[in-house]
Point group: C2
Chain length 337, copies 2
DNA sequence: CTGTTAGCGCTTTCAG
DNA sequence: CTGAAAGCGCTAACAG
């Protein structure tokens, strides 16, 4: 069993040509039933498995897609990739993964590696500081389509799937306002993230609509590390008057902030309330989860992005510049009973 | 920029042979400095990128490894794959992933797909009900090495990395005993999991050593779903006398059990204490985490497994049947202050 | 319906 | 030091 059967081998044993074997194996219309049967039988016996690499080489297609995301540790991303994988498998595609660990250089390297590996397409969620998108847009020259999701670039001529930040933010803020909050702080992400600006914009809009004075000292940033979040929280708490509620960029940040607030002897959801984004399953195990969290449907974002990519791949290159731009609506999940 | 440069192309433009170009590109010893420079310059200009697929085809190697695991949602596995990926990247390998979702059929399909994709090696953590390992051992015929981790098969002639269940379990039980517990229940995993038996064995050993009567009605199983865990807990609670402490197969199960216990008006860590395995980061956010949890070092298990595989791949096939069998020691992390 | 031929891009003897 | 030639496994014109 050392050597694997090849088409050639089968052909020789049956005294026919390799092309006939190939045709028989593929149920080609113009092939005799007799030879077809013979070939299939022998192929079975010899345990023939087509050499995919040779096929890829020939067809210039690998049936592989690459997925680049910041990390897999966050439930958000691991759920998203599950969605991607499910769709890919259904379409007979394989999935390469690469974690940028929020490092732009690493992200570039991964792109290069995937390009060299000849993936048929790429799905990306950007590293948090990625500002320049050339390493992605260059892929057009290699005819490798890209679909961005969740952390998408501020470009219009790309395929993207993302959560509708404005809508969810407004909903979350309205909720806090009905609960009586007027001084509402925001712990935003880095400025490079498109969502940060959107969140700030939505904040301003709601405040104006509700005729609440906008105080930009209530909008601070974290680089998403616990330390930075701690600093951001303290900055907010030093505002006068101090905010009574805080909207945090995601659950992890909210949890870090809550943790620190607790240390500062603040009563969570009493002295200060938290609302955030993602609605991670882990929050269901918490004693004091954020009051509410905007569900961002990572699995759905993943499947949607993958479906768009599959669609592009399955449909011959119509070179029209027709880009998908899909907004996923979040849902505000209220945790406080 | 539509067409990609090939070696042939470069050769033609320089009026030399493809072989020389290939040599120049690879810093082959026997190549003239002049031609080498010329070639490298032109390659640069033409943006030459070697066609990996062609190379793979030729070399019968893909520099790709496959990773099969139950799912990516569990922090344990997403951490493990991070470890694998880090090592792979360092060794210039790529990583294919496949989630079995604990379904044996799916697991088989993934193995077949990876085999056809000609991965150079595979790293696996078994689906929970996998009893038959033929789909893995068959890979030997294709010369595809396998390394199992965490959920490993009960075979001796395979490479494996796993957590030392006996040691950790003993440590956890001893801890409970020093805390005064005598009636200690166990919520085990399915019987198909090798670790279940090991846990039970370790339990018996400790009980004998500590001269505590062994009561097998205190050892129950869950299929890891919350419902099943609930049932398991109730079964334990119906024992007379009721156990005062429970050792659960992992943190998720412990959390589900604790959740249910709370509903039954039991005071956690008072009426009943929990100890478990994994020590997931999420537990740090909990009000009432398990009293203690055995850290199983998923990242380290991943890196270790990947290193073993890299070692096999980088070292020419010495056909000696030399299998790695690496035990990772857990550490009991005490959460109750 | 079947065989012949060529070739995908690259590496690697084998000659010179 | 360099070139010519073969071949990896498979497919797909093109001829019969």
């Amino acid at each position: 069993m050392k050597k694997v059967a090849t088409i050639k081998e089968i052909a020789k044993q049956l005294n026919i040509s390799p092309s006939s074997v190939s045709r028989a194996l593929h149920d080609h219309p113009s092939i005799g039933l007799r030879t077809k049967m013979q070939v299939q039988k022998l192929a079975e016996q010899l345990n023939y498995e087509p050499n995919q690499i040779a096929i890829f080489f020939k067809q210039r297609r690998t049936y592989t897609i690459g997925v680049i995301l910041p990390n897999l540790k966050e439930e958000f991303f691991s759920n998203a990739i599950s969605g991607i994988e499910d769709v890919a498998v259904k379409n007979k595609y394989h999935v390469f993964i690469g974690q940028s660990h929020d490092d732009v250089e690493k992200e570039k390297q991964i792109v290069t590696a995937m390009k060299n590996q000849h993936v048929d397409g790429i799905i990306v969620s950007l590293a948090k500081y990625t500002k320049n998108y050339d390493h992605f847009t260059d892929l057009k020259r290699n005819n490798i389509p890209i679909v961005f999701f969740d952390r998408v670039p501020a470009l219009s001529n790309v395929n993207k799937v993302y959560y509708d930040m404005a809508e969810g933010t407004k909903e979350a803020l309205e909720y806090l306002i009905t609960k009586g909050h007027r001084r509402i702080g925001i712990i935003n992400g880095p400025d490079e993230m498109k969502s940060s600006k959107e969140r700030t914009d939505a904040y301003k809009q709601v405040m104006i609509k509700r005729r609440i004075k906008i105080d930009m000292s209530l909008v601070v940033s974290t680089d998403l590390t616990p330390e930075s979040t701690k600093a951001a929280l303290e900055e907010l708490l030093s505002a006068k008057p101090r905010p009574t509620a805080i909207l945090a960029i995601n659950d992890y940040v909210a949890l870090d902030a809550m943790h620190h607030a607790k240390k500062l002897k603040l009563k969570i959801n009493k002295d200060i309330s938290f609302v955030s984004y993602a609605n991670l399953p882990i929050t269901s195990y918490l004693l004091n989860p954020p009051m509410a969290s905007v569900e961002q449907h990572p699995y759905m974002q993943g499947t949607k992005a993958a479906e768009i990519l599959m669609d592009i791949l399955n449909h011959p290159k119509e070179e029209n510049d027709n880009y998908s731009d899909v907004k996923i609506n979040g849902e505000l999940i209220i945790h406080d009973k």
